[in-house]
Symmetry: C2
Subunit: 227 residues, 2 copies
DNA sequence: TAATTTCTTAGTGTATCCAAAAAATGCTGA
DNA sequence: TCAGCATTTTTTGGATACACTAAGAAATTA
């Protein structure tokens, strides 16, 4: 059998069903398609997704560990809510970690990464009046660049989870009037500090950036006392 | 039905089997009874623990999410190893978070909590030559007091996980010669800063405390390149 | 020896089955 | 009418059995 058999594909990207189910449910919760407090019934979800209970159960267990789902013994699983206190806690931690990330980026970013940041920042700036979505996307890119430059996988992982956990309780704080311009200015400051390898300043500005975002976020949801 | 019905007990402490299995496996990994790289076979584990595959599977999935287990599709689950780079990453994050915790404690600790810290610190100091185990326990108490005083549940949860993840790769860095006395002195400094509500100093000292611990840890395992 | 084939073991997912607890429903009598 | 109780249904939690596939080891063959 001398034929080259070029493509054993399919195994490279093999992904267990349970992972697909997990990601699907996770995304649905983050996107708000499954609302806080909503009950998650194994059989029903399994039918909807066309799978058996097994992968659904495993997905729900993992979502519980991540804090997206709350389980009540012998009653079932519910999409987790979050209290204002929880949100404050998350922002407090996030501020410290984003500061760390920016500081590490100031230490470790390569010339190419700095260029990339400048570029993205410029794009945001130029976008100006363009539609929100595109700007939000660029904003995400910008933050991701900083995370990547921090060269700390564990840090990235934790920040990502924290962001997802509050992301579901808003569209985006950037959509608040006046927030946008402000955020862009803050970005420019952070990039400048990172470019100059000014660790202290980059950390400080990143921390303030998150603290400002928290204020905006809190005032945006101000009225409701979730959970 | 006028009787007060004081105690609907028994449901309070009902715990699904899967949780017990999860905690058991988790503890075994942290304690090192299951070694890094060791293969985890569902059937075998289920038999050993006298349960069926179902709770074992769910436990393994959750352990994977926490990073204690690595799953290779179609091959199975293995106790996770960790690279030196990973350890450095964890310590980096931990330093930032312990600094945050100490800073928050300096802001928020009550008089009672401060007293408690002083007491525990004194115990450690007095213990002097007494056996290591007891001192390690007190050290843990001390750190837990700071965490608690930070009033940030999310922070506590993350720090706890990070600690557990490196805990399995040593007995304790405190057992290194000379480290003990040094650690005690560092504790006294941190407590003093917290008592004086000196946020900056408390943060700084806590950060240095972790960085020192990292050095000790790294030199203790220095020779092996895990994973 | 090297390549191929076979065999065994495990992972993955489905389908059932069962007990126990919750929730929904229906009934009853003041 | 409706509170209060009993009965039925649903759901969770767990155990098993089964099919199917892939991976690795062992045996066979070239």
């Amino acid at each position: 059998m001398n034929e080259p058999r070029l493509l054993p594909i399919k195994l490279d990207n093999y992904k267990p069903l349970r992972e697909i189910v997990f990601e699907t449910l996770r995304e649905a919760i983050i996107q708000g398609n499954l609302e806080p407090g909503e009950r998650l019934m194994e059989i029903q979800l399994a039918e909807e997704m066309g799978v058996s209970r097994t992968p659904v159960r495993e997905a729900i267990r993992k979502l519980e560990l991540e804090g997206f789902v709350v389980m009540v013994p012998r009653k079932g699983a519910y999409v987790a809510g979050i209290s204002v206190k929880d949100i404050a806690d998350v922002f407090e931690v996030r501020a410290a970690l984003e500061a760390l990330a920016a500081g590490l980026a100031a230490e470790r970013a390569t010339a190419e990464e700095l260029e990339e940041m400048e570029r993205v920042s410029l794009h945001i700036y130029e976008a100006g009046d363009s539609e929100i979505d595109s700007i939000v996307e660029r904003d995400t890119d910008f933050h991701n660049l900083i995370y990547k430059a921090s060269r700390n996988q564990r840090l990235i992982q934790i920040i990502t989870l924290l962001k997802e956990q509050i992301q579901r309780f808003r569209t985006t704080s950037l959509s608040q009037p006046g927030r946008l311009k402000h955020a862009v200015d803050e970005h420019k400051g952070i990039i400048e500090a990172i470019s100059e390898h000014n660790i202290e300043l980059a950390s400080l500005l990143a921390r303030e950036h998150i603290e400002t975002a928290e204020q905006t976020f809190l005032s945006a949801i101000g009225e409701d006392n979730k959970r």
